[in-house]
């Protein structure tokens, strides 16, 4: 009897369905994360793999654990890392805000487009995903460099008489991030505005509210769930972005993703790189949890 109940509890369909995403998270997120966490407590050595081992078996049943917080202390004491974190947050925040303004405008105008155009317009938003991310960022080099398409156009139109230096500056990084993450902003906002009850806008007009004010008082407040979703989907990956600052940014561009890459591949200091990654994750946990909560609220 007891056995029966137990098997019912564990193997019923509901639990099986819930188990799938949890298993997914366990294998593809938690497990790798624990490995990174373990490495971050090790010391770099010249070997394969290039770090000291975490567990030591010296004959007894339980292994002894050899962990050092040296990497964390090092990161917190060296202002380079702190600056890189702060600068990453700043770049991610500013590009998220720019993406929000542009993305909201695009999402809003798609909802206002005639029905037969909407599908095509949405397709155009998603279309860039069909080309590799790396290639698209490379393409921006061709546009932004001194003798690139943008400068060619500006010069030939006579708008400037000197080519602009955009390549290898933070401006290029902003352009790259905004361009790359725009669809992640547009899609949730679009979904949100599209399902909004149109009679609310009419009710506001009916009560004497001008269209522009209606937009601020009704449309924007009601699309906050979409705005939050879009902002988190852009902000979180943008903080750790590596490819864009590496390809488009210059010496002035300090981003934690780039620091991580250097520690990992140039210095081959896996433990330090792991510690950098763990701290980055810890920093993002708060916004991620907040995002999770806002999504739950939106569902209920």
């Amino acid at each position: 009897m007891k056995n029966n109940m137990l098997s019912k509890y564990i193997f019923n369909g509901r639990n099986a369905v819930i188990a799938v995403p949890y298993l997914w998270l366990l294998i593809l997120f938690l497990f790798p994360f624990l490995i990174v966490l373990k490495i971050s407590f090790a010391e770099p050595i010249i070997a394969i793999p290039p770090f000291s081992s975490f567990f030591h078996w010296d004959g007894s049943f339980w292994p002894t654990i050899q962990a050092s917080f040296y990497n964390y202390v090092f990161i917190l004491e060296d202002s380079l890392y702190l600056n890189a974190y702060l600068s990453s947050l700043k770049i991610a925040l500013i590009s998220t805000l720019i993406t929000l303004v542009i993305g909201y405008a695009i999402a809003y105008s798609i909802t206002k487009a005639p029905t037969r155009w909407k599908g095509l317009l949405l397709l155009m938003v998603i279309l860039p995903f069909w080309t590799s991310f790396l290639i698209r960022v490379y393409a921006w080099i061709g546009i932004l460099k001194t003798e690139g398409l943008l400068n060619l156009m500006l010069l030939s139109l006579g708008i400037t008489d000197q080519p602009l230096t955009i390549m290898n500056t933070n401006l290029a990084v902003y352009i790259g991030i905004v361009y790359s993450y725009l669809p992640f902003m547009i899609l949730p906002i679009y979904a949100n505005i599209e399902k909004m009850d149109g009679s609310l806008i009419e009710a506001a007009a009916d009560l004497g509210c001008r269209p522009f004010k209606t937009f601020w008082k009704i449309t924007i407040p009601l699309s906050i769930p979409g705005i939050l979703a879009g902002c988190f989907l852009v902000f979180i990956p943008a903080v750790g972005e590596f490819v864009i600052p590496d390809l488009l940014g210059g010496t002035e561009t300090l981003m934690i993703g780039k620091v991580l890459w250097i520690e990992f591949f140039s210095n081959r200091d896996w433990p330090l790189a792991s510690a950098v990654a763990v701290i980055l994750l810890a920093m993002l946990i708060l916004p991620i949890m907040y995002y999770q909560k806002s999504q739950e609220k939106a569902i209920s």
């Binding site: 009679s199 007009a205 009916d206 004497g208």
Partner: protein
């Protein structure tokens, strides 16, 4: 009936408050409103009554400014409003779906329109309190719409649309979501409010009982047009067409041909009677043209033996009796197979000589209570 007609003419002599002049509205190829002309007067409680999809909401939306007429003009106090945007019209609407702002409290919802008028805040608060009191929601002022019941939401919507003291209030099926009891109660509340505030109400409904109860005049609509505009009483007693007669209450229709007019009234040769039947109403028709005689179920008398009348007698068999508490509905089958319904008040609790199934009965109506229809 003369009395009713004079009442209608008295209204028409005033200057109309709203005029629809040959208004048409097309959605693509589909004509939702077809060359409609209608006058509505100040202080009226006017109902638009018609089956679902006949264009009632479209008509209201054109008044509120959310749709533009494809053709024709809409005048408010004699001025064309076709080009005035909704937010500048002195008209408020209570939406079919209520359209309450979900992110605002009851209080804020009601204050929204007043804030657009830039009223001082103490004035706004005072008006909001007044409105909350009117709809008896004072203790719910801090709640959000999703924390209210359907009936409460509907009252917030009403309060919000009344808060600006519009001269004209449009109500689109305002009581659709309420149960019968609450509905009847709210109907009387609406009538009280309309009287108290002196606002012109235009209410859309597909419920003829509701329209009859609340309104001073009813416009009966069918597929994009108004077929008849009149007082509830007049619509019931003197419908202009077959479709109005059928839409307002129940009716028995006798099809036949016009046989002229004598001292009893209009003569009709029925398809299912040897004799001629009469209505005292005179019409302008050619001899032999097809006409209908409409008799309401409660205007028919029912007898077990041939009554002592010279005309308007039909013989039939009782097929079914529907007990309705205060009244019973008798379904009588005529020799040609047509069914006639007769309503009789149940005056006694149980009648010894009551009529039962399969009884042969005789029906009679007074020629004054039959209406002749030509279309």
């Amino acid at each position: 009936m003369n009395e009713i007609e004079s009442e209608t003419t008295k209204l028409s002599s005033d200057k109309p408050y709203i005029q629809f002049q040959n208004v048409s509205k097309k959605f693509g190829n589909f004509t939702a409103i077809n060359d409609l002309t209608l006058d509505i007067f100040n202080n009226e409680f006017f109902s638009l009554l018609g089956p679902s999809g006949c264009g009632k909401t479209t008509l209201l939306r054109m008044l509120a400014g959310f749709e533009k007429p494809t053709n024709g003009r809409i005048l408010l106090e004699g001025e064309d409003i076709s080009n005035i945007p909704p937010h500048l019209r002195p008209i408020n609407m209570m939406f079919q779906s209520y359209a309450l702002f979900p992110h605002m409290t009851v209080e804020k919802n009601i204050a929204f329109g007043l804030k657009q008028d830039k009223l001082p805040s103490n004035k706004i608060n005072q008006r909001v309190d007044e409105m909350l009191e009117l709809v008896e929601l004072t203790e719910f002022s801090k709640r959000k719409p999703n924390q209210l019941s359907g009936g409460q939401r509907q009252r917030v919507a009403l309060a919000r649309s009344l808060a600006k003291r519009p001269k004209l209030l449009l109500l689109d099926e305002p009581l659709g979501a309420l149960d019968k009891r609450l509905r009847e109660q709210t109907q009387f509340e609406l009538m009280n409010i309309q009287e108290k505030l002196g606002i012109t109400f235009i209410i859309v409904t597909h419920d003829q009982e509701e329209a009859m109860t609340v309104s001073s005049r009813i416009g009966v609509m069918d597929s994009g047009n108004v077929i008849q505009v009149s007082t509830p009483n007049n619509l019931y007693e003197a419908p202009a067409t077959k479709s109005v007669a059928e839409f307002i209450g129940n009716v028995n229709l006798f099809e036949g041909v016009y046989k002229g007019f004598d001292d009893i009234g209009t003569k009709l040769k029925c398809e299912h009677s040897e004799s001629i039947v009469y209505s005292s109403q005179s019409i302008d028709a050619k001899n032999g043209s097809k006409i209908w005689l409409a008799v309401r179920p409660e205007k028919l008398e029912i007898f077990k033996s041939p009554p002592d009348y010279k005309y308007n007698i039909l013989k039939g068999t009782i097929i079914d009796i529907g007990y309705g508490g205060s009244f019973s509905t008798y379904h009588v089958k005529l020799p040609n197979g047509n069914m006639i319904s007769v309503i009789r008040a149940n005056r006694e609790r149980t009648s010894e000589k009551s009529i039962t199934w399969n009884d042969e009965v005789y029906l009679h109506w007074s020629s004054k209570s039959a209406v002749v229809l030509t279309e």
